[in-house]
Symmetry: C2
Subunit: 197 residues, 2 copies
């Protein structure tokens, strides 16, 4: 097999969920039917790596110091919604119901709560709540997934904020147990937001 094809197949297998057979299909599709798409993807990857970094306030991906959601003057500074990923944040935004700020933990908490990479996200959240913007927060809406890991993360954050003058709420249990937020239908998410407790 040509070296360039081997490299391409191997690189595609670096994508999450892509094994040898999916990589073949992708490579042959791009080479056979969509070479422009292949070059566009190459440019988008290079540009994304060069330009995208974490928002210094909410930690989502952005191409500036602060993301558009953090700088939007129309948003309510007293409300802060904690999500696991930018995809979860996007799912909440699509409901059109929530007008506060966000904090994106990034990554999922493993079964060992104390050692998961998301612990760093929790630490960053606690720092965020100590800054000048943190003082404005009156309610923290925990919108982590309703999985064992998401519940553990929510519990960890609740515990860490005991004694602080911040109301901690959780999305209502309209969200089906065991599911991940980004796959839930909009109506259910909107209902769960309205019924937060």
């Amino acid at each position: 097999m040509a070296k360039a094809l081997e490299s391409l197949l191997r690189a595609l297998q670096g994508l999450p969920g892509v094994g040898a057979k999916t990589a073949s299909r992708m490579a042959f599709h791009l080479l056979q039917h969509d070479r422009d798409g292949a070059l566009e993807l190459a440019r988008a990857l290079t540009r994304g790596v060069a330009e995208l970094r974490h928002c210094t306030r909410c930690y989502t991906f952005t191409d500036a110091d602060l993301c558009p959601t953090c700088t939007d003057p129309a948003r309510d500074d007293t409300l802060l919604c904690v999500v696991e990923t930018p995809a979860d944040q996007a799912a909440l935004e699509r409901t059109g119901v929530y007008k506060g700020r966000y904090f994106v933990l990034m990554g999922k908490l493993g079964p060992l709560a104390a050692l998961g990479p998301q612990e760093n996200g929790v630490l960053r959240l606690l720092e965020r709540l100590q800054g000048a913007q943190g003082d404005a927060v009156r309610e923290l809406v925990l919108a982590t997934s309703f999985t064992a890991e998401g519940e553990a993360t929510a519990h960890l954050i609740s515990q860490a904020l005991k004694g602080r003058d911040i109301k901690v709420t959780r999305l209502a249990r309209g969200v089906p147990l065991g599911s991940e937020l980004e796959y839930v239908d909009l109506g259910t998410i909107a209902h769960a937001l309205a019924d937060r407790r």
Copy 2:
């Protein structure tokens, strides 16, 4: 959402089988955990598009005029195996049973046999059989998929070669009906090759 992130999500959705949610997961994985992998993929895509073209003899992807299989002096010129895709060819090669040459049709035949893009592949095959290398071919092994499209393609090729001094065989029916070759286990493929009729 940052423009660079939007472009990346859109470009990833250009990959076959990748919708909005899979694209999000891929983008966030690359940006969060594997920026080197993202750059490697960008380079592999650019290099693949620049270097990879079709072998002038068998039509598979290669970085030279002729692919290594076509130039391998140890292979039997009298046997030519017709496959739909390079992935199918790779599946046959992994059995280690076949020592002839290949012809890769590229693409699948649609329900309308006469109008599918694979018809071009069939025309290219007929041209290939008229060249100097074509004269050496004594047996054509049809290894198209055992689907309606694959059977139609095999039938089309058999008909086109009526009256030519070439034995046309088909992989034996050890291959499960309705399945695509690249997903079949090696033992079944090897058996089907030995029993070709």
